[in-house]
Amino acid sequence: MKRRILALCIALILAVSFAAGCTGNSNSKPNSGTTSNSSQSAEFSYPIPGNHTLTYFGKLHKNVAQQTSSYADLPITKLWFEKTGVTLEFNTPAEGMEKEQLNILLAGGNYTDIMVYSWLSYSGGLNKLLKDGVIQDITSHMGEWMPNLSKYYADHPDVDRQVKDDSSRYLCIPFLKQGRALLSTQGPNYRQDLLKETGLEPPQTLDEWEAVFVKIKELHPDIAPLTGTYNDICRFCQPAYGVSDTSWFVDNTKTVRFASLEDGFKQFITRMADWYSRGLIDSNFATYDVTTVNNVMSSGMGFATYGSSMDKYNAANVDNGDYLVVAERTPGLKPEERVTYVAQYEFGSNPFAVISTKCTEVEVAMRMYDWAFSPEGYRTLNWGIEGESFTIHDDGLEYYTDLILHNPDGLSTAQALAWYVMAGIKGPAMLAQDERYMIQYYSQPIQVEALQRWGDKDYEFRGFPPVSLTDDETSEFVALMADIDTYVESMCVKFILGQEPLSNWDNYVQTLKNMNIQRAIDIQQAAVNRYYAR
């Protein structure tokens, strides 16, 4: 009898504290009711009881924006809400506006509970946000409230290293790419119809590209052989010289290099200056942005560029005779040579989520986002609703239905996917993308070919790892690099345009040294050392 009373009392206490945890008022901070939570977790199951609403900030993916004004309208979002028992209130700026909107949000201090952004590109990164009191450290609750994601980390130690910070803290909920097909989604692409006119083979090396460009220039003086922004041109040709395609890389001895100081980079710039003077590079490249490049390619005024928009170019020219843009591998100097220091990482290139200090229902937020990493969540967010957007074939694998691939209402695959699958629109849930999503989504042969060709690069030595700097390092690094980046870009563009003779290269290097580039390299080196020690 006494025992029963005791049991009853415990049950009562549990029920009361449980209710307190769910009403979501201010005392449901992480620490309150830890005991009740831990006793719950053993038998926790979705949906989370109670009525929970969290606020969300993140860009509205363009594939969604074309069709509706809110993530809340999508069947997949509704399903996610229903399964997890949590609703999100969306603050979703249009794509391209998210950076400005985020800064306004941060400056105002009215953070949403969940904030999704490409935080690695945010100056100072997650550490700064933590120190500034913007985001929460969720490490201590990972095992308890995010069991599925924790298991994922345990199964993928390399991903775990990328996501956690140098003190082994978890500050974010990642969006992950699972499979190599997802790591090579952009690269060189060119007009196959024009290449046929030249009678040359698809170019594999920089020399072969040069030969093709010269021929194109002869046949079509009005068409720019190589077009794109300055960055596009770097990413097209720079890797051939073994110096990555951005400013930073870590060489095979784990030493940090600033690409724009390297001899390889000088050779690259010299070559580009030569190409420019011979009219092989679009003379307007310095004034271009992404939109203008797309216009140049779509209107047939360019032959080759770098990026992932070939479908857009082809779609704009369906009625235009032979016009066809196809992909090619990133060229090396020698045939068969695989370019190094350019491959992406599973984590970091896509926007990912953080939980802000304004969030009072941390458990709810974490559990909601953990669902995506459960087997059910993984399948649902990658494939949608069974019988509607996908079916399971005899091989036990998921396949999209015609609702997605050949939409009866005439939606493009990307548009149809947006309604049912979050792997493509990369939000509002965070998940691990299944590479088979991409392979099926790229239904046309030239698209599948593109994935293979763009993926033809070195995966042992990848691009610069997702390191994190300390707060002090960050402010010093940002202050140094603000002027250095401006200087490097403007000088390199001028070298290519011929406004600055290449004989001034030594001056350029000296100026960089005077601007204390070595200090910036040291900071990065320290961060890289910590990264590999994780």
Binding site: A107, T287, S475, A479, T486
Partner: protein, 315 residues
């Protein structure tokens, strides 16, 4: 005219009673006028004076999460960094060069256009010209800059007109002319409206008298029209001087590129890149505050010079 000191906007001074008594009587007597000006005072208080509190962050290492009062105080650190930056002198030179050239070209053209329109005999034609010239003012700046970029690219119409075959905006020396000319094209009509208004207030009898004395059109312009609008010109000029350092970032941002940073990068674009792109709020505020101080100094100087030389001033 030469010896009386003209202070624009000051009321007659009554020194007999204490200020608050006079103020009270003035308000009760002219309550309707005060009512009209009230919204403007409120506007300035809310949108121009209240935000000045935020200028404190120029002396702090500001973190939004900690707020203005909670952030770390760093004194003049941000200013010191700024004056030591590699680009400081480039930015200063560019800002002043673009601003003053713009001012020197822009300012007289507006007056000239107003006088020319004023001289037109056919009032209908004058109205057409006026409308046509101020229309571009209503085109969005983004569109105007888009047009400029199109017209000046390697095969753009203006590039071809000058017989060139590379984009004009790749040439650092052409940025200034392109900036100024497109600015004049867009704003000259709009800017001339205020002078046209000033021109109508000139007594027509002066012209008749001058004509009898044998003055031609040109002499009439020199001796009657220009002195007639001189107060307006002076006031507007002093106010323009006050904007020299805060040269708008929008247009430069839309037109410049890496190849011409040397000649096109100005304080406002630097602030934009550091503040908005690199989220370095405090540093940007310091630069902004520095700009404002220089602007204030310039206005005070211009006003003083004008008062000494012309006996015309804002205060």
């Amino acid at each position: 005219m030469a010896k009386t000191k003209t202070v624009i906007g000051s009321a007659a001074v009554n020194r007999k009673k204490p200020l608050w008594v006079r103020a009270k009587r003035d308000v009760t007597r002219n309550w309707d006028l005060y009512l009209i000006i009230l919204p403007i005072l409120v506007f300035y208080a809310i949108f121009h004076y209240a935000p000045m509190y935020g200028a404190i962050i120029a002396f702090e290492n500001y973190k939004p999460a900690r707020g203005i009062l909670g952030s770390e105080w760093v004194g003049l650190e941000n200013f010191r960094t700024f004056f030591g930056t590699y680009y400081f002198w480039t930015l200063l030179r560019n800002t002043l060069r673009i601003s003053f050239t713009s001012l020197l070209v822009h300012f007289p053209t507006e007056i000239l256009l107003a006088i020319l329109i004023n001289e037109l005999r056919s009032k209908r034609f004058a109205r057409v010209v006026q409308t046509v010239t101020y229309m571009p003012h209503f085109i969005s700046l983004v569109v105007v800059c888009g047009m400029v970029l199109q017209f000046t690219k390697s095969n753009g119409i203006i590039t071809k007109l000058f017989g060139m075959n590379t984009p004009m905006l790749n040439n650092p020396n052409l940025f200034l002319p392109i900036y100024v000319v497109s600015d004049v094209w867009q704003q000259v009509g709009w800017g001339s409206i205020i002078y046209l208004a000033a021109l109508t207030s000139i007594d027509q009898e002066l012209y008749e008298a001058a004509e009898i004395d044998g003055a031609g059109r040109f002499k009439q312009t020199i001796y009657i029209t220009l002195p007639g609008i001189l107060p307006t010109v002076t006031v507007l000029f002093i106010m323009r001087i006050g904007k020299v350092m805060s040269l708008g970032s929008d247009k430069v941002l839309l037109l410049y590129n890496e190849a011409i940073y040397d000649k096109a990068d100005v304080f406002a674009t630097y602030v934009y890149r550091r503040g908005i792109e690199n989220t370095d709020w405090s540093y940007s505020s310091a630069v902004g505050l520095f700009n404002s101080v220089i602007n204030l100094a310039l206005v005070v100087t211009a006003n003083t010079i004008s008062r000494r030389v012309n006996q015309l001033s804002i205060w």
